[in-house]
């Protein structure tokens, strides 16, 4: 017994090159689609993870500090303004606050960084509070600073790799000519912490001549506190601005939304092209087999049988193309990740293209729906071929 599936499948092999080209078109569309959906999913997940790893919900910073500074801070940027350290005590007293964390970011030009030098970021923190803030941080070697005024440094994984430093080694802060002893090297976190050099807050304040100043106070709120209301309260402090990390997230998402729309448009165009390709391939194949289809009707095929036969051909093309596209997307996700990272203004540290089972199933469902739609017209046309017209060789098209 030969099934309709076998007949349809064998027919696709008749014009191998044409079927292959159609298949490639569908596979490329599926690749674009799954990568785009994976990007939408992955970017947000990684961004959320980055923000969760910050350990706090609000950042208090100096007024006039550009709003994008929040983004720059996430990246360890520079050009920040300063607030008074005394705000820390005021904020810590507030009943809504679970914990407040002082931070001072400084940056110096390092002529040895990269080919033509670069900015080296130093992060002044209190070892005790910072460890509470980020309990997930683990040491590959050593531990936190021994004293709040020590000239000691804890290096992020990548920073240590780049500088080739281990516990016990010295590092020189360029420009300031100050030497630090490396007391700890962190495990890889997949966040910007990997590239950061942490030093005691007091020491950094002393080096940069800002003994009572901070760049940022990170505020962790108690559970159930309305952060918007508390933000209003914070604005009573002089010359400050509050950035909520939800806001940061929204800003970043806003920045990439243009890129997303562009990629989505490309995906839609790719899918439409693939769809037209499928219709063209199947329709051409129907016309080429005009007489054959008519003969199938004389040997007992009902219009619905012919419709199914042609539809199965479309489904075989779309399913195979869809699976190939998804495999391609999985294999090339790292490359896609790098390309997107290069194009976007800001990219979080985790994987940008996250393709999971749910996404694969959604893409397959979408490709199959598109396939079924593409096959409708050719299948309907084939079902209407009259055996007599076919036998006479009349092209009743």
């Amino acid at each position: 017994m030969i099934t309709k599936f076998q007949v349809a499948y064998k027919n696709l092999l008749r014009k191998r090159v044409r079927s292959l080209l159609t298949l490639i078109g569908i596979a490329l569309s599926a690749w674009v689609l799954v990568s785009l959906l994976g990007f939408n999913h992955g970017y947000e997940t990684s961004l959320n993870k980055d923000i969760d790893n910050m350990g706090f919900e609000l950042m208090l910073m100096a007024k006039g500090c550009p709003y994008e500074a929040a983004t720059m801070m996430l990246k360890g940027g520079t050009g920040l303004k300063y607030i008074k350290e005394s705000f820390m005590e005021d904020i810590a007293k507030e009943p809504e606050v679970e914990k407040a964390f002082p931070m001072l970011m400084s940056a110096v030009f390092d002529p040895n960084k990269g080919e033509s030098g670069g900015i080296a970021g130093y992060f002044g923190v209190e070892a005790k509070s910072f460890a509470e803030l980020k309990p997930s941080l683990k040491f590959r070697q050593g531990g936190w600073f021994t004293d709040v005024n020590a000239y000691e440094a804890v290096m992020g994984y990548e920073a240590a790799e780049l500088e080739q430093r281990e516990v016990g080694d010295k590092i020189l802060m360029p420009d300031k000519n100050v030497e630090f002893k490396v007391v700890g090297v962190l495990e890889r976190t997949g966040t910007q912490d990997d590239g950061t050099i942490f030093v005691p807050l007091k020491t950094l304040q002393k080096i940069f001549g800002r003994p009572d100043e901070l760049t940022t106070i990170g505020i962790k709120l108690k559970k159930g506190v309305d952060s918007t209301r508390f933000e209003e309260k914070l604005y009573k402090l002089p010359d400050v601005q509050v950035v909520s990390l939800t806001q940061v997230k929204q800003t970043i998402m806003g920045l990439i939304s243009t890129a997303k729309v562009m990629v989505l448009s490309i995906a839609i165009i790719a899918i439409l092209i693939a769809m037209v390709g499928v219709i063209n391939t199947i329709l051409t194949s129907v016309w080429e087999r005009f007489q054959e289809i008519g003969i199938l009707k004389t040997i007992g095929a009902m219009p619905w049988d012919i419709f199914k036969l042609i539809w199965i051909e479309t489904l075989i093309l779309c399913t195979t193309g869809g699976i190939l596209g998804i495999i391609l997307a999985l294999i090339l996700s790292r490359v896609t990740d790098l390309v997107i990272r290069y194009v976007l203004p800001y990219a979080p540290s985790g994987g940008l293209v996250l393709i999971d089972l749910k996404l694969v199933l959604i893409t397959m469902a979408a490709i199959l729906c598109i396939g079924l739609l593409s096959g409708l017209y050719p299948a309907w046309k084939a079902g209407r071929i009259m055996p007599l017209e076919a036998i006479r060789g009349e092209v009743g098209r």
Binding site: M1, I2, T3, K4, Q6, V7, K10, N11, L13, R14, Q291, E292, I295, L296, K297, T298, I299, G300, A301, M302, P303, D305, M386, P387, L388, I391
Partner: protein
């Protein structure tokens, strides 16, 4: 084959085609009866209407007027021609067709081509019919070959097996030897003759070859849309 008595009776059958405003009667007032087990041949020059007639007798087309009976049952109703679905049902239950151009599916093997009708419709008891037919038609050694790998005569044998796989009562053969040489043509007509004699199959064959047509029990000639039996 079925033991049913399936005869075809045409009374004043007419098929008119329109060419612009001009009416062309391809089949003009044809009356004839074909009994179960008959082997008839229809000859005639090109354009005489023989293919149009076989298409009407094989329910591939609706006549313009006249009466058509299948097994005593009136099938054609001038007021309400049969739909393609209804024609298909009648065709697949009663008829088998073979054509000059074989129309085998090139991507399917000989066996698959023969079994193809069973994909769409299967009469009970036809499970091993394809194997039996290929053996009967001496094509079983070629069952795994593709149509492109066999000769024209062999292709027509495969087409006959395909037409026979659902055990039709009537086999319609429209110029079945038109693409074959004399030797192969004689072989094919012999096959049709054997099926008619051994299995009781009704055979209606259209041909332009008088020598082959003489193998039939009754011979008809078509001219200008009209038919007459040749003694």
């Amino acid at each position: 084959m079925s033991q049913k008595n399936i005869s075809i009776e045409a009374i004043n059958l007419k098929k008119v085609y329109l060419r612009g405003s001009e009416e062309i009667p391809a089949v003009n007032d044809v009356s004839m009866r074909i009994n179960q087990g008959d082997f008839i041949s229809i000859i005639g020059p090109s354009g005489s209407g023989k293919t149009t007639l076989i298409n009407l007798l094989g329910f591939l087309d609706n006549p313009t007027s006249g009466e058509l009976y299948l097994g005593g049952r009136s099938i054609f109703n001038h007021a309400k021609p049969l739909s393609e679905r209804e024609l298909t049902k009648i065709r697949r239950e009663t008829f088998g067709y073979i054509f000059q151009n074989f129309y085998l599916i090139p991507t399917l093997t000989v066996m698959e081509n023969v079994m193809l009708p069973l994909t769409f419709y299967r009469k009970p008891g036809t499970e091993n019919e394809a194997v039996k037919l290929l053996k009967l038609l001496e094509m079983d050694h070629r069952k795994d070959h593709l149509p492109g790998q066999i000769s024209g005569g062999e292709m027509q044998r495969v087409a006959i097996a395909r037409a026979m796989v659902n055990r039709p009562e009537i086999l319609l053969a429209d110029e079945p030897t038109g693409n074959l040489d004399t030797k192969r043509s004689a072989e094919i007509v012999q096959v049709l003759q054997e099926l008619n004699r051994n299995v009781g199959l009704t055979v209606i064959m259209v041909t332009h070859n008088q020598d082959l047509a003489r193998h039939a029990d009754r011979m008809f000639e078509m001219k200008d849309g009209q038919i007459r039996q040749i003694d």
